[in-house]
Amino acid sequence: MNGFVKYLAERLFQLFLVIFLGVSLAFVITTLSPVDPVQVSLSQMTSFGAVDPRSVELMREALEELYGLQGTMLEQYFNFWRRVLTGDFGPSLSAFPTPVMTLIAAAVPWTLGLLGLSLAMTWILGNLLGALAGYFRNNTLLKLSGAAVMALHPVPAYITGLILLLLFGYAWPILPISGGAQMNLQQGFTLEYITSLIRHGLLPAMAMVLVGIGSWFISMRSLVSNIVTDDHVVYAELGGVKSRKIFSQYVARNALLPQVTGLALNLGHIFGGTVIIEFLFNYPGMGRLLIQGIYRGDYSLVLGVTTISIVAVAFAAFVLDLVYPLIDPRVRLG
């Protein structure tokens, strides 16, 4: 068989295996969760009203039937796969009967938009700073910014966010601290809407960048300090190649390759890793959705989001493996 086809087949198999295993694992853990969606719904309906115990019993039965929660775990498992294969995660139990897909579809643009972008920004900034600091070891400015990044690194996301919120929302209130865009603004490609998106995205994005930059910075700096002693870099220095070029094309570029893998594998953080930031800035992304789902015992929703996350990460890794030869000419597939 043609080597590439064989490789592709193997890699595809692995992709599906990863997805299958991951989703199954998530399914098991989710279904074991003791939060009972019927109970959550019931207490939501009854918590503020006068309730007659007999009608509560009746309601409980009705809801169980409605939510389709009967059957053994195995049956539910097969059911789940059957639905997933058709791209349907069933109705959300906490926002019954809205389909989980609708909820996810509403959250995804925000997640991809802002959180994806700031992940990208974090990555770029962290790597750039890290590479600069690793290469120009004696630059005071870089040393200082390195120290700042290092000091910020261990600060928990929540605190970073909270401090930003206080600084720019209260002490010097120039930025909105809540939501994804100005209220009641027509969505669309208008300058007004986009400005509003950016203004609202700025604080959470900043928080995410500050939180995430550290680990990229540190790993990039160490990668770079290893690479600068590589023959090709030393030689370029001896060859009088301009240091800007050495930095960008000989050092940073080579050190970046492992970081690209890191980025792909970090995609998962878009779904859930940023919960705290979304939570704090009330941002309408996937992480929030997920936490809500967990709180309310909404298996369908939790599984929906987790499945998408698993598929996305596995797929990103897969695509990365396929295109890696384009980024790194040394790599051969097969």
Partner: protein, 284 residues
């Protein structure tokens, strides 16, 4: 007469190429030779870069599987040696020596560890004392002693010493065959001699056969019994070393021989000038 090692029409094909442009590369094309059990010899493989020498060595050592053909060691197909016990048995009889003495020992672990584990695994030397005596015995063969190297790290020893220790280590299991892939290419002229002299000693005094892979025709001539010359995966010429090298028949062998520069400024520069003129002519 039984054979120590037999290669029977061995070929090896590699898949190469990038994402879309794939191809296969025949690194070894139907190579056959054998080494006799009774009489130890130094069997040399020379040839151009990329002609498949290392690949053959790897196949003999069982690190690569031939695409077609068989390699039998003492009658047994080496590809069937897979279980750890069998592997250990096999390795007891066949030992490699690597190209770069500085690379062959982990710079971060003491040298003697290699000697002691070898003694432990292949000669059943359980106690440290037994291991030490085994190691010392082997080291004596290469003109060293354990006292000189005990607890030392590779950087504390010269390349020549290291390469000798590597040989000594390979001797501990009392192997029948040593596969040495360019064991001298990284060292200076003097060291080179000390190692090839050692090979002779092994063959003559210990009865160890050696497959000696090299670019250096001069040393090949100097120590080998038989030689094969490889070119693009094929054996283009084989036979008694001195006969073949004194009197090459194949075009490539001749070219190879002629390319060897003599250690004399006048003749060497003349040879080089000649070669340059030839190349110029070719290009024109």
């Amino acid at each position: 007469m039984s054979k120590l090692l037999e290669l029977d029409q061995v070929t090896k094909t590699f898949q190469i190429g990038g994402l879309l442009d794939r191809a296969t590369l025949q690194a070894v094309k139907g190579v056959s030779f054998d080494i006799d059990d009774a009489k130890a010899e130094i069997f040399t493989i020379v040839g151009e870069s990329g002609s498949g020498k290392t690949t053959i060595a790897k196949m003999i050592l069982g690190n690569e599987v031939p695409t077609t053909g068989t390699i039998r060691f003492e009658g047994r197909d080496v590809t069937t040696v897979r279980k750890r016990r069998d592997r250990l048995d096999f390795m007891k009889r066949v030992q490699p020596i690597f190209q770069n003495p500085f690379e062959a020992f982990n710079p971060l672990t003491p040298i003697d560890l290699f000697l002691f584990t070898t003694a432990k695994q292949f000669c059943g030397a359980k106690t440290r004392a037994e291991q030490e005596s085994q190691a010392d015995k082997a080291l004596q063969h290469v003109g060293l002693s354990l006292a000189e190297i005990k607890g030392r790290y590779s950087h504390e020893l010269s390349g020549g010493q290291l390469q000798r220790i590597a040989v000594a280590r390979a001797l501990i299991p009392e192997p029948k065959l040593i596969v040495a892939d360019e064991p001298v290419s990284m060292v200076d002229a003097s060291l080179r001699m000390s190692i090839v002299n050692l090979f002779q000693h092994l063959r003559d005094d210990l009865g160890v056969s050696i497959i000696y892979i090299t670019h250096d025709l001069a040393t090949a001539y100097y120590i080998s019994d038989r030689v094969i010359i490889m070119h693009r995966g094929d054996v283009v010429e084989a036979g008694n070393a001195q006969e073949v090298l004194d009197n090459p028949k194949h075009e490539y062998s001749t070219a190879l021989k002629n390319a060897v520069l003599p250690p004399d400024p006048e003749r060497a520069s003349a040879a080089l000038r000649h070669r340059r003129a030839e190349r110029q002519a070719e290009r024109a």
